[in-house]
Structures are given as C-alpha cells and as structure tokens.
C-alpha cells in the first residue's frame, strides 16, 4: 500500500484521473468516442492528437532537465523548423509531391538538430549556464524564422504535409503515432541502454561523473541535440496543423508548458532522476486542463491563470518545507534553505 502511495507517479496519475473524472461528470460526452469512416473521434482523441507537439518538446526537455539544464529555445526552434519546411515546400513546383515534403521535413529536422547542437556547444564547450545559453536562441531564433519566411506568414496547400497533423492511421491520428514513436524511442534508448543512468549521474553530480570517466560533455550535448530535433518535429506538426509558418506564434510559451509538464511528472528541476512516463502523464494533464478550460467557456486567453495556480500548487506541494511540514507536524524548527543543509547533515553522519 505505502509502496503505491510513495511511487512518484502516484500523484501525477491521480491528478490526471481526477481531471478526467471531473470532466466526465460535468459533460458525459467528454469520454464518448465515436467511430466515423474508420476514424475515432471524441474529446479524448482530440487530446491525444493535440498533445503531440507538447509531448515531443516535453520529452526533449525531460532529458535536458535531467542533465541539470533547461532548454528555453524550443519554441523558437519550432518556428524555425516550420519556416524551413514551408519555405521549401512553397518554393518547389509541386507542393503535393511526397518527395518534396520528405525533403522539407528532413531538412527542417536537420536544421533543428543543428540548432540543438549550437545550444549544446554553448553549454558544454563554453560553459554557459543553460538558461542563458538557450535564451540566446530563444531571442534570435524567431528573428531567424522571420527572415527565412521573408517576414510574412508562408502558407501552403500540401496534402502529404497536412497528413502529419490531421491524417489518420489505424483509426487514430497520425500525430498521436508520432508522439508514441518518440516516447518509445526515447524510453528504449534511455532505459534499455545505460544512457539513462549516466544522464542522471551527470545531472546529479557533473564533476564526480566526469572523474568517474563518464563522457559528461557528450551526454549533455546529446541531450540538447535530442531536444532540438524533437522541437523541430513538433514545429512541423504545428505548421502542418495551420498549414502556415507563423514565426511569431509557433510554439509561443511551449517551453513553459513543457517545463511544467516535466515538473508535474515528478522530475526535479535540479536535474538527476527523471521519469519519461511522468512527463507523458504531465503532458496529458496539461492538455486535459486546457480542454477543461475551453469547455468551461473561459476564453483560452484567460487560461494562463489556471496554469499559474497549478504551477504554484504543484511546486508548493513538492517543496521540502511542505513535505517536512506534512511529515513532521510536531513543528520542530528546521533550518531554512533545507535543501543545501540536508546534504550537510548527511555528511555529518
């Protein structure tokens, strides 16, 4: 019993189920799924489909955060990737040709990968704080995307490209399959190889890991590249959904939602132990919350207030003060800034 209670996915999953339950009670159609022309429809399916870009970005963010970093540039990378792909498709003679779309997709993801590599370079080689290093691209990236599209919103009509966001396979949205593929690939690479535990070691104690012979630089660099590439794919899905490369609006705030998803999933922003499954749950919580807000008839512009409160409540519940307060209501005076000092205490032992 306590094992279940203490599992770190316990609270995220409980939150998600509670949200779904509330929705289901308030509007039964929320959980109804209908089949039309061999394709499934319904609010839950929409959540699965629409969560794909956030899922991809959040997966990359999880790995970066595990290395004790953060990637603020994902939104900007989405914008660049969308701009690159649509500019290539737009410039080609035949937007509906599969080859054109494939080339566009590959080039866009490659560009995103290179941008991730750039972030990794700043962090690992120049030793710049991750927040700052990725802030550079966060600022400059959208500018670059605007330059690629020539300052306008490029729109295209390309069936194969559109298929990425609105197509169906085996009764489910293609975007969902892309997200699932990413989850599986990341999960297998991290957990079936030693990469996961080495990443955690680097995130918890970079110097000790380096002295233990871990290729810290390569692991951290790789994390930013993965994050960049996944953001690139997310940018393609976003661009595909709108059929447009909108450098100013693609992926705005997505870095914040992705970080929130990671934190909701139980991964600490201090790096180290991470949970892919937790992030997946976190993304669904956010997407469901978004859907709930929409259902309540609240203008989506106002939904940030809810997210603000959710962030506050979650971080307060996760805080050491709250935990020790709950665990130890006897009210013993604790030193402030318990995080640092807890480590000292362990040392005294």
């Amino acid at each position: 019993m306590t094992a279940v209670y203490k599992h770190r996915l316990f609270w995220p999953i409980v939150s998600l189920l509670t949200l779904i339950a509330i929705n289901a009670i308030a509007r039964p159609q929320f959980i109804t799924i209908t089949m039309r022309d061999g394709e499934l429809y319904g609010a839950l399916i929409t959540i699965l489909r629409d969560s794909a870009p956030l899922m991809l970005v959040a997966l990359g963010m999880t790995i970066v955060i595990a290395t004790r970093g953060i990637d603020l540039s994902v939104g900007a990378i989405m914008a660049v990737s969308g701009a690159v792909a649509l500019t290539i498709i737009d410039g080609s003679g035949d937007p509906d040709a599969l080859a054109t779309v494939l080339i566009a997709v590959l080039v866009a993801v490659l560009v995103a990968l290179i941008l991730g590599m750039w972030n990794g370079f700043l962090v690992t080689v120049l030793g710049i704080q991750p927040i700052v290093a990725t802030l550079v691209l966060m600022l400059a990236g959208r500018g670059a995307a605007l330059l690629i599209t020539g300052g306008k919103i490029t729109t295209v009509n390309s069936a194969p490209f559109k298929w990425m966001s609105s197509g169906y396979m085996v009764a489910l949205p293609v975007a969902f399959f892309i997200a699932v593929a990413a989850i599986i690939v990341i999960g297998v690479i991290e957990r079936r190889t030693a990469l996961g535990v080495l990443t955690e070691a680097v995130g918890i104690n970079p110097e000790a890991s380096r002295l233990a012979g871990v290729r810290s630089r390569g692991i951290i660099w790789g994390a930013y590249m993965v994050s960049g590439a996944l953001a690139g794919v997310a940018g393609l899905i976003y661009a595909s959904r709108t059929s447009a490369a909108d450098a100013n609006n693609a992926g705005v705030f997505i870095e914040l939602y992705a970080i929130l998803a990671v934190v909701l999933g139980g991964t600490s922003l201090n790096g180290g132990k991470f949970s892919i499954a937790g992030t997946v749950v976190g993304v669904f919580i956010i997407q469901t919350l978004d859907s709930t807000v929409l259902f309540l008839g609240i203008p989506s512009a106002q939904s940030p207030v809810f997210f603000g409160f959710v962030v506050a409540v979650v971080v307060v519940l996760q805080s050491p003060r709250m935990r020790s307060g709950l665990a130890n209501l006897s009210g013993r005076l604790r030193p402030r800034g318990a995080g640092v000092q807890d480590r000292e205490k362990a040392e005294v032992a």
Partner: protein
C-alpha cells in the same frame, strides 16, 4: 587568565540531542563555556563537533536539551538570533562574500550610517581599524576575491570582532594559516580572552590546542566523553579518549606494508616533468607494481594537483606520462581509466559520490562509463559485482538500493573504493581516502588497500595524517609550495623525520 570555575558560565548546553535521518548526530551532550577561557572542542571527524557548534549558532535546531546564554534560556532559529545573543562564529570554510570588498565583508550589517545612507568612508575607516588590530594592512576597498584564503580567514575573524561578541567560536580557523599567521591569531585570542571573551576553539593540530587552550571537551561518536582542564590531560590520554580504542589493528597494517619493492622493472606509471603553470612546478613520479607511494605535504602543497594532472582531471601543460613504458596522453579522466588508472578524489561529496543514485548505481558507474552507454552491463553481472564489494568492504547498510547520500562518510568512501576497484585498476590513486570518517571504516579501508597492494596493485596514497602515510607507504614523495622537494623511503624515516623534511628540506623558503 585561568578561568575560575566560580565564574558563572556564559554558555550552558544541557542534554543536547540532534537526530538526522538515520543518525543520532548528538546524544545527550553537555557543554559549558566560561567567560575568559579558551575552550577546545576535540574529537575525530564525525564526532559531532560541527553539529554542536551549529546547534549553538542557530544553524541547526535541537531535538531535545536546552541552551542558556548568560543564564538565560535561548531558542535560536537562525544564525542572526545567535549573533544577537553575542555569539560570533568563524567557520572553517570562509563564509564571506567574495564579490564584495574586504571592508564591506567586515562591516556588512553594521555599517555606520549618515542620514539615511551608509557612510562608506566611515565604514572603510572602521574596517581598517579592525584589521589593524589584527596587525593587518589591506586595501579595504579591494574585492575579497583578490585575496588568498588565509587573508580571507583573517578578514572573517575581523568581522567576528566587529560584533563585539561575548562568545567567539573559531572552527578550524588555522587550517589555511602559516606559522606566523597562527601566532598572530593566538595573540589576538589571548587579548580577547583577557578581556573576558569566551572562546570556543576547534583545531586538528594538537600543538595548537595545547598552546592556546585552558580547557578541553572531548566528543566521540556524538556523545560527550568529558571535560578536562588542559593541565590534567596529557596528549596520549587525549588521543585515547578521542579515538576510544587501541590502535592495534592499524599497527598490524603497518607491519604488513613495510616490505621491499622490486623497482628494477618498468614502473606501472611514470610521469616525467608533469606540471601546469601556476598550479604545480614540473615533477617526476613513478609507481611500481605492488608499491604504495605516499604523497606528503601540507594542504595546498600541490599534492592533490599532482595526482589530478596525472589522472587528466586537470590538463597538464608540460610533461609526459608513461604506462608500462609506453607514452600515453591523458587529457580526460576517461583516458586514464582506459589505461587502468583510477583516482578517488579528496572531495568525496562534490567529486566522488553521486548522492541521489543508489549504492549499486554508484559502484557500477565507473565500469559502465568505461563500457560506454550503449553496452549496458547486464543486471545479473551488476548485482554480482555490487554484492561482492559490499561484502568485501563491509558497506553499511548492506543494501544495494540505499541512496548513497544517506550513508555515513566512511561508507560513502567504501562505495567509492568499490567503484574504482570494480574497474580493475593497475594504479589506484587515493586522495585523502580516510578524511572525516570513523576509525572503524578507516581501518577497513587501510586494510583493504594494504591487501590489494600486496597482491600487486600499485597505489598512490595521499593523506594529511602523516602517521597514516608512513604506515601505508613504502616510499613517500614530499611536496611543498606547489613543488616536489624530494622522496623518502618510509622504512628509513619516522614521523619527526618526515615533518622535519616537509618543513626544512631543500633551499630555505619560509613557507
């Protein structure tokens, strides 16, 4: 001068108990400090000295017991509460802000004001006055970061004096000071004592303790052993009380390590002219199979720097390294590991263990890093290795899934030793492997190292405890002031000889 027992105590701690997760850090400890005395707090690392001090200064809360200052019962919840009660502390690691000026560090929070703002001219003048009373002349407007640790330590003491404290706590203030600076500090301490300040002094140097103290309180394993006037406690009695058991097992290690080493063949590792500008002057070092080479020298003598350069933890800008007679380039620790060289850092917490990983994950980390991330070591093999080393080294708790951060220092050190032994090294470099751990773990680790070297492992052993170096090593390399000054055969010297060599050998330089 000699504290009169009739003087009412300024600090009275009764029945202090502090519990940390899984550990009883202090168990029903009493401590009394009287005005006008220098009172030394003695004990091995981990005995509870720092915890007691932190309880007195409000950094830690106490689980039970009482603290009275000048007869008044107090509950401190922050450091500033304790300061308000007249208790001022200088910690071992300098707790100042290096981004601020010297003068500001001394006066911070007590700056003279003019109108609504701080009067900087008066602030710096007053800071200079406090420094002058310590016999120091510094530019108070210079940044603290520009000064050496020793100077920073003296600045910290100046700060403590600004507070006009009734109780001054000096936690290992002398570890980075040279002889002259220590004398200066002792002069100041005597002055303050004569003015009625109660001084709590912690030092590892027995000479200093006997030179300055009036009274000694001994702690062991979180419990009080007793309080003694210094005249009634001879040194050997003090050491016995601190350690609490005979040194028989350690002596046995010594006898086993004093054997002859065959140095006719090729050394396992040979470094020639290894150096880095501003860090270490070029030095030579050779280690043969089955040999334990001790490195002796004071803190900051370059002993850690030498092995870090050898290991590739820092990049050497000159010199060559040969492994079994072949030139190798070691630019990164993993290059060294590939050549079967392992280094256990002196800084266990920051450069050793990965606190939030388990014992098993920490032990396997070195092997796994060597294999690369793609080839994960199968679970079964991992479990076997982990169990083998937990048993061999006596890691407690013997639970592979415990988080290393929750283990005691000695057990963390054993986990680190296990990590390195699991990579099957041919040269094992141990930098201060026994610092801050209890005697039992110390003996376990020394025994294991002696055993492995007898089986042919080459070892470099660094320790501040010279007895330990002499006990473990066949040959001792001596460094001073970031320079190697020579080598000694352990069998031909004793502790006094080694101390004399460290202090005086080579051309005279007044360190």
């Amino acid at each position: 001068m000699n504290a009169d027992t009739e003087v009412p105590p300024i600090v009275e701690m009764r029945g202090i108990t502090i519990r940390f997760p899984g550990v009883l850090a202090l168990d029903d400890v009493d401590f009394t400090l009287r005005p006008g005395e220098v009172h030394s707090l003695m004990g091995e690392n981990g005995a509870g000295k720092s915890t007691l001090i932190k309880a007195l200064t409000g950094v830690y809360g106490i689980d039970s017991g009482s603290i009275s200052i000048a007869g008044e019962r107090q509950t401190f919840s922050t450091a500033s509460d304790a300061q308000d009660a007249g208790i001022s502390t200088v910690y071992q690691e300098v707790n100042l802000c290096t981004n601020l000026t010297v003068g500001e560090n001394i006066m911070l929070g007590h700056e003279p004001r003019r109108g609504t703002g701080i009067d900087w001219r008066a602030t710096h003048a007053e800071a200079a006055r406090h420094l002058a009373s310590l016999g120091l002349e510094l530019d108070t407007r210079s940044m603290l970061a520009h000064h050496s640790i020793a100077i920073q330590q003296l600045v910290a003491i100046s700060r403590a004096m600004v507070l006009d404290a009734k109780v001054l706590i000096l936690d290992e203030p002398t570890s980075s000071l040279d002889r002259g600076e220590v004398e200066q500090l002792f002069g100041i301490m005597r002055d303050l004592r004569d003015k009625g300040v109660a001084i709590l002094f912690v030092s590892h140097f027995l000479d200093q303790v006997y030179e300055i103290s009036d009274r000694i309180t001994v702690l062991r394993n979180g419990a009080l052993v007793g309080e003694y006037p210094v005249a009634e406690l001879p040194r050997d009695a003090l050491v016995t009380k601190m350690i609490g058991r005979e040194l028989a097992d350690l002596a046995a290690i010594a006898s086993s390590s004093h054997r002859d080493i065959d140095r006719s063949g090729t050394p396992v590792v040979k470094a020639t002219g290894l150096g880095r500008r501003g860090v270490l002057e070029p030095a030579d070092l050779e280690v043969y199979e089955g040999e334990v080479v001790g490195i002796a020298g004071l803190l900051g003598s370059g002993r850690t720097e030498l092995v870090r350069l050898l290991y590739g933890a820092d990049r050497a800008d000159e010199g060559t390294v040969e492994v079994h007679g072949e030139h190798v380039r070691l630019h990164q620790p993993r290059h060294a590991i590939d050549h079967r060289i392992s280094l256990s850092s002196e800084n266990r917490r920051e450069e050793g263990v990965v606190a939030d990983l388990t014992v098993a994950e920490n032990i396997v980390l070195g092997m796994q890093a060597r294999q690369g991330w793609l080839r994960k070591i199968p679970k079964k093999d991992q479990d076997a290795v982990v169990q083998e080393y937990i048993d061999a080294l006596g890691v407690r708790p013997a639970n592979p899934h415990a988080l290393v951060g929750n283990l005691s220092g000695g057990n963390q050190q054993k986990v680190l030793l296990a990590r390195w032994l699991a990579t099957a090294p041919e040269l094992l470099v141990l930098d201060e492997p026994t610092r801050g751990i209890d005697v039992g773990a110390k003996a376990d680790i020394q025994r294991k190292v002696a055993e492995l070297s007898a089986q042919g492992l080459a070892v470099i052993f660094i320790s501040s405890e010279l007895e330990e170096v002499l006990r473990m090593a066949q040959r001792v390399v001596v460094l001073r002031d970031r320079k190697k000054i020579g080598e000694l055969e352990a069998s031909t010297t004793d502790l006094d000889g080694l101390i004399d060599y460290i202090a005086n050998a080579g051309e005279g330089s007044a360190a």
